[in-house]
Symmetry: D2
Subunit: 185 residues, 4 copies
């Protein structure tokens, strides 16, 4: 089985809940970035040994949270020795608006993975986008480069749309499947 880590920042708990669903689907372990932008000391060793790294962050003001970016900047040490080269990467982001510039955050996550010399895997699934589409459908939010979830601005952690949690789980499975393709050798 592939060794997969989900490294994420969550400001108010929503992205954490989504990270859990992704990790469930991917049979991955979670690494939390804290409110100061730090990860536990052993996280760098875990990530260096991982087959796949899933990056998660809320979208704040059109990009990843500063705490996530703080983690990204700190990864320049791993970059220096190309520790993450050839690993599989994927990403997810949550915001209040249907679009809400989540795609800009996602492009950042892709760019970050490419700087590290990784491979990227996206959703690998179509969107639910016909007249009959329901908010509870898989990939109703309709992204492809990574998982986009939409949680209303005034929704609690327990009010994340179920369809998005289901999509998060399916996305985790997708990442695990791609990691298996890469590391079956």
């Amino acid at each position: 089985m592939s060794s997969i880590y989900v490294v994420y920042h969550s400001g108010y708990g929503h992205t954490k809940r989504i990270a859990q669903a992704v990790a469930e689907g991917a049979r991955a372990e979670l690494i939390a970035i804290d409110a100061e932008g730090n990860v536990p000391a052993q996280a760098w060793e875990q990530l260096a040994a991982a087959d796949a790294i899933v990056l998660g962050t809320p979208t704040y003001m059109g990009g990843p949270s500063w705490q996530f970016k703080c983690f990204a900047d700190a990864s320049s040490k791993a970059w220096g020795t190309q520790q993450w080269r050839d690993k599989l990467f994927a990403g997810f982001t949550n915001s209040a608006s249907m679009n809400g510039d989540k795609a800009v955050t996602m492009q950042y996550l892709v760019t970050f993975a490419m700087q590290h010399g990784g491979l990227w895997v996206g959703m690998g699934m179509k969107a639910s986008n016909t007249k009959a589409a329901q908010r509870s459908d898989i990939n109703y939010v309709g992204a492809f480069s990574g998982l986009h979830t939409t949680t209303p601005a005034d929704a609690g952690v327990d009010e994340i749309p179920q369809g998005d949690l289901d999509t998060a789980r399916a996305f985790g499975q997708r990442v695990a499947q791609a990691a298996a393709l890469l590391h079956k050798g």
Copy 2:
């Protein structure tokens, strides 16, 4: 009053309908890019004389339609002599999925305007993104750099969500207001 043109390509009529709503809000004239990627001969003179240019295209396979791009490539003549420098630009795009990579198309439109030495104006409005939000609200689709509309894959031209048409009109008004700021001198 500012002279504003909406130049757009529409594959199946949906983007045309949205272009009309934008033009209504902006009191703009329409220029259609045809199925071969061409505009009427006089369009280049009209655009050269415009105060503001609003760019519209469906999002196909994650970017502007090839016909829109054909128009963009042909504008390299206007670019050569910097005819469009200092004009105001704005953009809109329609696709079937809620996100559907419309933001990637929008970033292309911004880039295109910047190559021409223009200024860019976006939505200038917040999104409808609370638990009480309705699909019929203004900017439910929730974009900021330009107008995003979402028309289900199997919806006819008469089935474009009314909220998106209302948002298109409000966006047109926003463009006209910004053009007035720029050209009141």
Copy 3:
């Protein structure tokens, strides 16, 4: 005369030097984001009163520095009351590689300005890109959506290419010219 502020973060002094050149060209005042991602308390009032805001950050690991992002996240207060709506925005970024994903940082800066309901102005100039082009030419680095400067990884603050400093000054003038267009009323 327009009121223009250049708000920037600089990790090692290079982006600060470029910010100074931009400010010189734009006759703007400087606001520094510190090593913890904070700006002086009065900065928020200054920015609220500004006609134009120029955003500057190094590109680290494919995006703005976390300190810049910390400032961006803190601006959500100004966003809440749309204090920055209708202002003119522009941006610049510095990195060691010729490309170095500076364009990804620039797209973030555009996105951020659009969330705030602003207008965006880019370089408004062509690139120096013929066989005879010299590194010391204006816009040799060849960006359009904003100023890109390239300072070698081992270059000191006094070794920023002169052509890039000249380009920074010209870019500042461009921003001032656009601000004048907008606020001549």
Copy 4:
């Protein structure tokens, strides 16, 4: 050995020359998109059977050429049945300016691959970006998400910088190595 195709459009022969260097490095076969945006009829079958697809286009007016986009739009048939799912994708683009918004084209290529459910691999190498860096170095142009080459606006096909051709060959080898990782099972 993996089956790799390089599908590209070239307006004036420069991108074709770079495609050849990539194909040499990757031991790939070439598929040319013609001046009308079409590929030979058998190309669709070849691509359906490929392990990896490398996408190449000039950057014109801030994005892929319309002919490349015409090919991309035509691939919606392959998308409909998810024929390209799980394939490896990579991309390259050429323009006259050092940056020249090549990164915007590259983001489009990534997006396109993600719509098709593919995996993406980038350069997997650092940039040559110290004071001692030479134009003839590998990855002097300094991109990571894919290959960026810079050919002066007035340079003939025989005047593409040798360093960029060498980088193209190294990039092709990188793609072949990643394809081998994926398909060794």
